[in-house]
């Protein structure tokens, strides 16, 4: 279970929220551009530190301003898909995906099996030798996803993980992702702007507005908020 209760001063406003996510559950995070979704993920990942508060995973504190605990990101065991992918441009697609396993000192032959499996599934086997800088935008996003999932993290943070995928891949991925999160039983936060994601993958959803939770509940409630807008109504 992931518990988050933090406060952080951003440039334009304060981020201030309290969240619990059970194992195997997925929180869909939606909200306007610049409302603080990415900032929140960075705080949970340990790339940035809250001004005060507490973040705990399975009862163990990752961050605690009172007890002065701040576990470094490499020890938090997270799988993070960055909004801008943050692929290693000097490495091949293969090496990007294998990176997390190598840091864990897994034997090369085991790595090979796992990476092949993930690259196959993502449809990237053919471009495995290309430099990560030299593939298309959607291919980059798939690499980022595979790189985060292959390490079997204890916590998943996905920042708009499907936005650049083509129609076919998006559908498959949505299904696969959902199943694998449930099977793995780790808490998961997915940021998205696509209400179809919310419906199909989320156990519950959260609407962020200028750093605060404006709405929390089942997916349907958030959709209702969305359908105040004109052409989102298409969804139903």
């Amino acid at each position: 279970m992931l518990e988050v209760d933090i406060k952080k001063r951003l440039r334009d406003f304060d981020l201030r929220l309290k969240l619990d996510i059970d194992r195997g559950k997925t929180l869909m995070l939606v909200g306007d551009n610049g409302c603080g979704k990415t900032s929140l993920l960075n705080l949970v990942a340990g790339l940035d530190s809250p001004d005060e508060g507490r973040i705990a995973l399975d009862g163990l504190a990752l961050f605690d301003s009172e007890k002065k605990i701040n576990i470094p990101p490499e020890a938090r065991g997270i799988g993070y898909v960055f909004q801008s992918y943050a692929l290693f441009p000097h490495m091949s697609v293969y090496d990007n995906v294998a990176f997390g396993l190598r840091t864990r000192k897994m034997p090369a032959d085991e790595i090979d099996v796992l990476v092949k499996e993930h690259l196959d599934r993502a449809g990237l086997w053919d471009v495995r030798k290309a430099k990560a800088a030299d593939v298309s935008g959607g291919q980059k996003q798939r690499i980022a996803l595979a790189r985060a999932l292959i390490i079997e993290p204890r916590l998943l943070l996905l920042d708009e993980p499907l936005s650049a995928l083509d129609v076919r891949k998006q559908a498959t991925m949505r299904r696969e992702l959902k199943e694998s999160i449930r099977a793995c039983g780790v808490p998961c936060i997915i940021v998205t702007h696509d209400l179809r994601d919310v419906v199909s993958m989320g156990d519950f959803a959260c609407l962020l507005e200028r750093g605060k939770i404006a709405l929390k509940g089942g997916a349907e409630e958030v959709i209702a908020w969305g359908s105040g807008q004109d052409d989102v109504g298409d969804l139903h």
Partner: protein, 285 residues
Amino acid sequence: MSGDSNQEHKCIGRAVAIPSRSREIALKACLGLLLTLAMAFIALPVIALFLRSPLDTILGTLHDPVVIDALRLSLMTSTITTFTVVIMGTPIAYVSARFNYWGKELADSLIDLPVIMPPAVAGIALLVAFGRMGLVGHYLNTTFGISIAFTTLAVIIAQVFVSSPFYIRQARTSFEDVDLSLENAARTLGATRVYTFIHVILPIAMNGLISGAIMAFARSLGEFGATIMFAGNFQGRTQTMPLAIYTAMQGDLDVSLCLSIILVAFSFVVIVSVKTLTRKVYKRC
């Protein structure tokens, strides 16, 4: 799509080696120690120089017209040199970072040559090329009546010769690191190559350019061997601080050390202010 076989993972999360707190501290201590040692290695000789020279001797020499001449000349020539190197070197660095032309690798290595040459040899080379009897200087002299060697211009030429590689190399790598897609974006927005260069590439590479220019400036301030050979040692005309230091060494070691300290202190102040100033300007734009 395969992959459905994957759902039975145990998913305990792959073990991560949690770095112990003590290891982190040890690393920091190591780095701190290394930094301190390195700083000490550079600072100690400078401090030892200072300790040997009483302050009043230093202040006394500051009134000596020889010193004033030399300091003025040094600052002037080094400044002109740096500007020349930056103005000529920037396009050269950019061209060799972005374009391929015949003999590029050769040209690139050629640029390093002045660094390898011991300075006096560089001076002789300049003399046999641009001196009155030199390969080129010969024509300059007979055709135009121009004589370069042993003038203030010669000081600048010698300094440009020895210090330009330091700027060009650094500028080149900085240009290479600028993301090509930004250049592309600028051009689709209607910017010509030149406009793009000035408004996009230059500001992004600025950090490296400033750093390279400071190196070139420092190198030309300290330049001695090539200057004395190619430009001679004439007070007020070609006697820069390093030459004055050498000349003073003939009489009194202490005076020459005082001069060295003045040079070092002055340059230090100049470099620090240039650095803060340019960084400020650069941050603002």
